[in-house]
Amino acid sequence: MNRQTLLGLSFISPALLAVVMFFLLPVVLTVVFAFTNMSTSTGILGGEYQISESDLRRLPAAGVSDEVAEMLTGAGYAVRPETLALFAADFGKDRADEFDTLHGGATFNDRRAMERALKDLRGDPIRVVRERKAAAELFRVSILGQRYPTEAEFQTAIRELGIPEADHAALTKAAYTGWTFTTQNFELLWELPATWRYALNSTIYVVLTLAFNVGFGLFLAFSTFYLPTRTAQTFRAIWFLPRILPPVLYVVMWQWLTWDQGFISAILRPFGIEPINWMRHTATHAWTFIVLINGCVGASLGMILFSSSLRAIPETHLFAAQVDGANRWQQVRFVLLPQMRWPILFITSYQTLSLLTSFEYILLATDGGPGRQTEVWALAAYHTALSNYGGNLEYGLGAAYALALVIIGILLSALYLRFFNFRDLVAKPRIEQ
């Protein structure tokens, strides 16, 4: 490796680092998460070992024998000679003797009952709450509800309980509270009827918005191309506004425009048209506005790119066409458009990919409504992984949704490159060879 290569590498390293940090790593993590059952309940960084009351009824299904499930069930606290001995060691023989007379042989279901029993000590009562709790723990004979940080500690605990070796593996597996690798997310996606609706919604959304973006962007570019420079610039600046407005503000303005006491309803009322929520009335209304909201943002980008590439076309081509008697439409169709293949390719592929993953304007405008009819794939991923009223976020399932998008995105990029003959477009100009 010579010095030039090293220098080149060092120059590119910040960019490389950014690509790894902000692109590769998230993709790799998405792939990993998609094959797990990770959720709020399992935590992210791993789990501990615990058998809780509600786990008991799941044990038979997890391959643990009924006999073991039976052993785990039952009273959590017992006053027996061995627990009393532990108590005597820490809290004195007198107390232990008194407690034996009071409650010897008794069992208690929960710690609260155990603590109540300990309060019966009269000779030398345990006065401090924490001490009484520590004392209660000495009488614990069950592992139900106990958390063990490591597998080894859990196995020691179940060995002490006398659980047969044969069941150790299954029981340990059932006790693990963290996430595990699984393919169930993809099975679930395949099974759920909603998945197909979201896919269809995404297709509708991308195709319609893309058509609007590119079409309207081209229209703006061509219409301003033939205008005097200053007027053209003013128009372009106006059409650029949606892109520079903060999305929340931009969507709020659309809300004001469309809600049932909004601008459109107010204008139409004198004509005898009942006020309705124009954005949410039906699915068609919702799609129209979602395409408009996204389209106006997207079209401005197309407009800028198309305008600049139009200006790069030598004017002489237009003069020649004019001499041949071509009208404006013919100029656009036969002279300008063929030379715009590369910017159109770029905008189409770039917008397809960004539309596939974008949902922020839909989230703000309809949040997938009415009746989930505008819930696109990316929004479903967001709702699954990051928004749940009940509090259990399903990171794994959300990542599976996202992974599908990553795969579709990569496939589409490959398809676009092939379809638009990317290699020809970036070939070296023949004239310089």
Binding site: R112, A194, G369, G371, G390, L393
Partner: protein, 447 residues
């Protein structure tokens, strides 16, 4: 000599000083809290002061600094902040959140049981209503303490009712009639239709429900005989008949012109201003709405204009009901056991009737314990006392089950689809049945 005196003086002063001064910072994050909910944090501060004084009397120096935060980007932002903080090992010591978070957060090990640190049988925790304490348990363990109580009543606009022919006496009887099942959701729908037909309210304003998902919709499921959790097995329950009838009820409301087809997603501010000013005939909300109606929305005569009842029964199988969705104080898992202990003690002290009453009245919530109704501040507040009498005895809560979130989301999605006319109620129920059995598996009982 002088040196020796100095040394002696120094020695004396150190001997007089308490053994070790202990400085501890307790952070409290309160989700879903607005300005009137500041006592969720302030009460912890008052508790810290009391605890320090108690320590001082025992001869210990305990300095507690309480740092509170309640400006979060909605519930989603709050829950993400807490869970990610817990993963990174810097979770706040105390969180105020929905009791539904207990199940997932306990399974993930983010929180520690409050019963590990405080005596549930002593004051003030033994004063908290047993059914509310129950809501903060999961898997037989007491994880938290209810921070406030509320319930979700059904409201009607008295003026509209008067024009429909109800006398004042009739309206006063309403709560009792609803409770007895004499006045059902179907009767309400008929009245709402009449109000729309007579032009008393605009079309779509006869019955004006909540605009987003929330515990409220589970109430309507219960109104039609639905049960959320099977008490025997602890599994969630999808009652197909009840769910279909509940969906059908909303579809009928839309068809009768009583409720708007695109109602879900209406702006909350618009919704509040409309219901507080009588634009709607019937609606449902929460006990804390009282503060909003009489405050920001400027309704000066709440009791003269608005009546409230339980959510009426929907049919023979169902019952009049209301859901209470208390927020709870939870103590998070920390490196230092001492921090957890102090946090738990602060939570316990903050549940003192006097302190909790400050929160209840300032934020239009209900008491968590019996003794609060003996306090002047609470007893003197008409709304708090009436709502406590009419609603709280009949309130139940949603189950603490790790998969309840998925259940609730599916139920609401189905409702939205039926409501907007995308699917018939039967189709919607069939779809959520497929969805729930796939996602909940063995944890679901289908009836």
């Amino acid at each position: 000599m002088k040196q020796i005196t100095c040394a002696l003086a120094l020695l004396a002063s150190t001997a007089a000083m308490p053994v070790l001064a202990e400085d501890i910072t307790i952070t409290v994050w309160a989700g879903g809290s607005n300005d009137s909910d500041h006592y969720r944090i302030d009460n912890i501060m008052i508790a810290a002061d009391l605890l320090s004084r108690e320590a001082a009397i025992r001869g210990e120096e305990l300095n507690i600094t309480v740092e509170g935060k309640r400006d979060f980007d909605g519930w989603d932002g709050f829950k993400q902040a807490v869970t990610l903080g817990a993963e990174a090992g810097n979770a706040p010591n105390i969180v105020v959140t929905s009791h539904l978070d207990i199940a997932p957060w306990a399974s993930a090990g983010y929180i520690v049981p409050i019963e590990d640190y405080v005596d549930l049988d002593s004051w003030p925790l033994n004063n908290v209503y047993a059914n509310l304490m129950e809501i903060a348990t999961f898997d037989g363990t007491q994880w938290g303490v209810p921070q406030d109580a509320e319930s979700r009543p059904f409201f009607f606009w008295k003026d509209t009712m008067a024009k429909l022919g109800y006398s004042d006496a009739d309206m006063n009887d309403m709560a009792a009639r609803v409770q007895a099942g004499d006045y059902t959701l179907r009767d309400m729908l008929a009245d709402a239709k009449k109000a729309v037909d007579m032009g008393l309210v605009d079309e779509g304003y006869g019955f004006y429900p909540r605009v987003s998902n929330g515990p409220d919709y589970a109430q309507f499921y219960q109104s039609f005989g639905g049960e959320l959790m099977d008490p025997e097995t602890g599994k969630l329950v999808l009652d197909r008949t009840a769910m279909t009838e509940m969906y059908q009820f909303f579809v009928d409301a839309v068809e009768a012109g009583v409720t708007r087809k695109n109602h879900i997603g209406t702006d909350w501010d618009q919704w509040y201003s409309e219901v507080a000013s009588g634009k709607a005939a019937f609606w449902h909300g929460g006990t804390w709405h009282y503060g909003r109606y009489t405050g920001k929305e400027g309704n000066d005569d709440f009791f003269g204009t608005i009546g409230f009842t339980l959510i009426p029964a929907g049919n023979e199988a169902g019952r009049a009901n209301t859901i209470t969705h208390p927020l709870v104080y939870l103590v998070t898992d920390q490196e230092e056991d001492r921090a957890e202990e102090i946090a738990a003690q602060l939570v316990s002290i903050a549940s003192e009737p006097r302190l909790n009453t400050l929160h209840a009245i300032a934020s239009s919530h209900l008491a968590i314990g019996k003794a609060e109704s003996d306090l002047d501040l609470y007893a003197g507040d008409r709304w708090a006392s009436e709502a406590t009498d009419v609603l709280l005895p009949h309130a139940n809560a949603q189950p603490n089950h790790p998969s309840y979130g998925a259940f609730s989301e599916a139920m609401f999605k189905g409702l939205e689809a039926a409501w907007a006319g995308v699917q018939t109620p039967e189709e919607a129920v069939a779809e959520i049945e497929a969805q729930m059995s796939a996602t909940l598996g063995d944890e679901l009982i289908i009836r």
